[in-house]
Symmetry: C2
Subunit: 219 residues, 2 copies
């Protein structure tokens, strides 16, 4: 049967976001298993390691195809590679980072990204003290040259690690330049057409849910 690059067949219904959010975690566990030279694993074994149900694992995977074999389970390396393809990690994703402060630099220095096809190709800032420096070999540019840079490079993702006050305007500019995916760390929500993908990392919201759980215990 003809399948597309994600392993899904054209015309099938969209995968729910609940499933999508679990995929990277499967990928991480499979990578760990692979590193430990585990050759095969059953949904039951994996479910015990990951603290989920075996049923959920099988349901999730079968959204993308039948990767297992009855009586055997799943070949770890094969499933790892297939999951990588599903996640688009076999492709190169060029990333620019808007805001070269601590958070922007932290992303640029992150080891995990490189090895998964995420290539940081530039950081941008307004601060003259940062412009011209390099982070892990990647230059910090004046944000004034953003337009030229985006036109000359294939930018898959723009990470927004700048202050709340500046984020909306820069996001608008990026979208008008044709950037189609934003990884947003500023505590704001955007309202772009649906072909613009936005993934929010709202750290304040994350720590507030932790605070909630701390203070609501034993009640």
């Amino acid at each position: 049967m003809a399948e597309n690059s994600t392993g899904r067949q054209a015309g099938e219904k969209a995968i729910s976001s609940a499933v999508i959010k679990r995929l990277p975690r499967y990928y991480r566990y499979l990578g760990d298993l692979l590193k430990n030279n585990v050759v095969r694993i059953s949904s039951k074994q994996l479910s015990q390691r990951m603290n989920v149900t075996a049923s959920q694992i099988r349901q999730d995977l079968n959204n993308f195809g039948g990767f297992g074999q009855q009586g055997y389970g799943y070949n770890v390396e094969h499933l790892y590679n297939e999951m990588g393809k599903i996640l688009g990690l076999d492709k190169t994703n060029n990333i620019i980072i808007l805001g070269a402060g601590n958070l922007g630099q932290a992303l640029a220095n992150n080891q995990d990204f490189d090895s998964n096809g995420f290539h940081i190709i530039g950081l941008f800032d307004v601060n003259p003290k940062l412009i011209g420096m390099t982070v892990k070999g990647v230059e910090v540019y004046d944000i004034d040259i953003l337009e030229d840079f985006v036109k000359e490079h294939d930018v898959a993702i723009a990470a927004l690690t700048l202050p709340k006050s500046k984020a909306p305007k820069v996001a608008e500019q990026l979208v008008s330049l044709g950037v189609k995916a934003l990884w947003n760390f500023a505590p704001v929500d955007f309202d772009f057409p649906e072909d613009v993908l936005v993934e929010n990392v709202h750290l304040s919201e994350s720590i507030m849910t932790l605070s909630y759980r701390i203070h609501s215990q034993n009640e």
Copy 2:
């Protein structure tokens, strides 16, 4: 009726995590409204701003009590304050940061935390170049003094911004010292007793879901 500090009555069933995760966003929108001197708002108006249903807002809020008034809606300032209490933001949460690299420093420098009762009281690292420096007035300590520090201070939350290889051991130590909430940025899962709260921020997983969405479009 007697209510506890969260606005919930003792004995009522636990709030679902789907609801809890939405609370900080309500809080943010209410804070923005308050800044803009908006005095009252209906669930319908708020739903339009937030891109959710009015029904969901009312359902969510009513887990914690009736904050509105028929025919009027909600008083913004009152609801904002009540939400703050529900989230535990009226309390002081002392935070230590394990790993004083870019990410740890980014957290220490984050403006939003201070104003919501999250006080960074120390950073810890093994790197002699970092030990002794201060970030926003907060000192970076040698991680060797962690035990003494935790015993002498009331640590509500420990943020783990250190490499994957070091995270599990440090986490173990923190939990053995009685720290009850971990804010984990390392790409690992922990398996502590359920009285230890763990909030994961897995940046690699976040960007992978974005990659998935980029590469699965139009299929």
